[in-house]
């Protein structure tokens, strides 16, 4: 078991390091001194000393290798460089924007889980054939909707037509309703699809027949036998869903004009603010890796089969 944990953590660190390196190579080293050229742009109105300071901070005069070592050291200590657009440290920008994005993403994730479970449950209630086929078609519809369009349409329908949710100066939580929905709907779709597929698959397994043969009702079987078997594999896509969540945040924050990591990323691209985007990429990769690591470590605890396998080897 210890060996397993060790190797998993090692792998995670390796992926993280490689992600950093690739993003470094792509974003900083490749266009040569492009970043510096940008700083020298008179538009920013930076004085010669300031430019020299920044050059020193980036170690721009050193070799690429030195820059790399420098940057990786900075990243480890939480120094992500300076945003050339805002003129402040990237870490400060992140600190300001992270909480609101986490709140948005967290609420959206919870909503998406709820939606997916509702879809899965509704489609497995026998007796409502029409409802079932309608519900079954929802996930494939949801994955086909562009998130930004969904956001705009939600505003159009709920704010302008029905006047249910105000868009101008909404309350703190009120203003989150539509953004949360905008992120949650597209993410609930793959979740629901996996859940439905797993439930269908588990229902065909012989142990379900055995449970029925014991006299268990359909509902009992679904709840006591199928549920855990069907839900466990969903955990393994948590990392991917996180990525979708982040993409959703970028789009939603742009559409609804909210502050957060997503709108930060969007602005970074608009202003070619490389340092900011690199920091966001590396941090989200770190989050992805951490989530997958957590799932990898949690899975054997939840699935007795894997526990035995690992126990046997370690």
């Amino acid at each position: 078991m210890a060996r397993y944990i060790f190797s998993r953590v090692g792998q995670a660190l390796l992926v993280l390091w490689a992600t950093f390196t690739i993003s470094f190579v792509l974003l900083q080293a490749m266009p040569g001194d492009a970043v510096m050229v940008k700083f020298q742009n008179p538009e920013y109105g930076l004085s010669a000393e300031q430019i020299a300071d920044i050059r020193a901070a980036y170690d721009a005069d050193g070799s690429v290798v030195l820059q790399y070592v420098h940057t990786i050291g900075n990243f480890i200590t939480g120094d992500f460089g300076y945003s050339l657009q805002a003129g402040v440290a990237v870490s400060a920008q992140l600190a300001v924007n992270l909480p609101s994005t986490i709140r948005l993403a967290g609420l959206a994730f919870a909503t998406a889980v709820l939606l997916a479970v509702v879809i899965a449950v509704l489609s497995n209630i026998s007796g409502f054939t029409r409802l079932r086929s309608f519900v079954l078609s929802l996930p494939s519809l949801f994955v086909s909707i562009p998130a930004f369009w969904l956001g705009i349409m939600l505003i159009q329908i709920f704010s302008f037509r029905l006047r249910l949710v105000p868009v101008i100066n909404p309350g703190e939580w009120e203003g989150l309703i539509l953004p949360v929905l905008t992120i949650a709907v597209p993410i609930s779709a793959p979740m629901a699809q996996i859940l439905l597929r797993n439930i269908d698959e588990v229902l065909t397994r012989p142990f379900v027949s055995v449970a029925r043969a014991k006299g268990a009702s359909h509902a009992f079987v679904l709840w006591r036998h199928v549920a855990k078997n069907a839900v466990l594999p969903v955990l393994t896509v948590a990392g991917v869903l996180f990525g979708e969540l982040l993409a959703g945040a970028v789009i939603t924050e742009t559409v609804f004009g909210l502050n957060g990591i997503g709108s930060l990323a969007e602005q970074a691209v608009n202003f070619q603010d490389v340092a900011v985007l690199q920091a966001i990429v590396v941090i989200s990769a770190a989050a992805f890796v951490t989530i997958n690591l957590a799932v990898d470590l949690l899975y054997p605890v939840l699935d007795p089969r894997l526990k035995a396998k690992l126990g046997g080897v370690a």
Binding site: L16, L26, V143, S144, P146, I152, T236, A265, L277, V281
Partner: protein, 306 residues
């Protein structure tokens, strides 16, 4: 299809693509399962499939011969026709410059579709090559390629494409490259797992056993048998590429105005959302319909394989 052990199955599941999540059923199981499942999806929604093909045919015709479908100019507005609601004259209305929205949608098809196809072509060729090499070579080559794939997958798709755009700059071609790049990893992973599972099958062993060389077996058995699911996945990717491209277009990173790219149309219409709702609704619906149809066709291809 494929026979995978539990561990392999879990591994498959963390791909970002729904197709990989399909738990691969042992061959024997599929035979008994097919009839039971057919009831839920295949039989009932066949008319849907026909409809999907019709939608795609129309979208393709828009892209190939837009002039046949509309007589309006997509770029030059008509004076005095600004922001007209849908009517017999402009049946999807007009935008703030007096341009016919329907005409812009028709002419936009070529931008959105060709971009998506180009993007997927990049992912398909590079990803398939990597996957075939990894799956058939095995050993450290396999290991190195798959670690690279892991790294690519660890960056959220949108952020990855934004990184590439910040590197290459804005524009239609760059957006397509960015989107294509994001699908390389998933193609590589799918193809590798297909190749590996086909390689494990008894008919491949039998082919080696009758004196077949590596490349002969690869060509005769491994590639043809991996193909169907790759085609289904390619179709699925075209749908998701359209979505991603429209997102980039919406954010303003794709084609510059006045190109009638679908994502851009939605972005432009957004400013008039309170007064001219059709400007955002119509392009969005077109995107949804096309993507939905592509996904439906992809599903049908994937199922035919079983």
């Amino acid at each position: 299809m494929t026979i995978l052990d539990t561990a392999e199955r879990h591994r498959n599941i963390d791909s970002p693509n729904p197709l990989d999540w399909i738990s691969a059923a042992p061959a024997a199981e599929v035979a008994t399962r097919a009839p039971a499942k057919a009831r839920a999806y295949a039989i009932r929604i066949q008319p849907g499939l026909v409809l999907a093909y019709i939608v795609l045919a129309i979208a393709l015709l828009w892209a190939v011969a837009p002039g046949v479908f509309t007589s309006y100019d997509p770029v030059q507005g008509l004076p005095g026709q600004q922001l007209k609601a849908p009517s017999a004259l402009h049946f999807l209305g007009t935008d703030a410059l007096g341009r016919d929205l329907y005409a812009r949608l028709v002419y936009g098809a070529v931008h959105s579709l060709s971009g998506a196809v180009a993007a997927v072509a990049i992912g398909l060729f590079v990803g398939t090559a990597l996957g075939v090499v990894a799956g058939s070579a095995g050993g450290w080559v396999d290991h190195a390629i798959m670690r690279l794939v892991d790294i690519l997958l660890s960056i959220p798709v949108l952020l990855l494409s934004l990184s590439i755009i910040i590197l290459l700059g804005f524009g239609t071609v760059n957006a397509a490259i960015a989107v294509g790049f994001t699908s390389i990893a998933s193609f590589a992973r799918l193809v590798r797992s297909e190749v590996v599972s086909v390689r494990r099958s008894e008919y491949v062993e039998a082919a080696f056993g009758s004196g077949g060389t590596f490349f002969k077996v690869l060509w005769r058995h491994v590639l043809p048998n991996s193909l169907t699911s790759v085609i289904a996945f390619t179709a699925l990717q075209v749908g998701s590429a359209i979505l991603q491209l429209s997102t980039l277009g919406f954010l303003g990173y794709g084609a510059p105005p006045p190109t009638p790219e679908w994502g851009l149309l939605i972005a432009e219409g957004r400013n008039y959302i309170a007064t001219a709702w059709w400007l955002t609704a119509a392009p969005g619906i077109v995107v949804v319909l096309v993507v939905l149809s592509i996904n439906r066709v992809s599903q049908a291809i994937g199922r035919a394989q079983r």
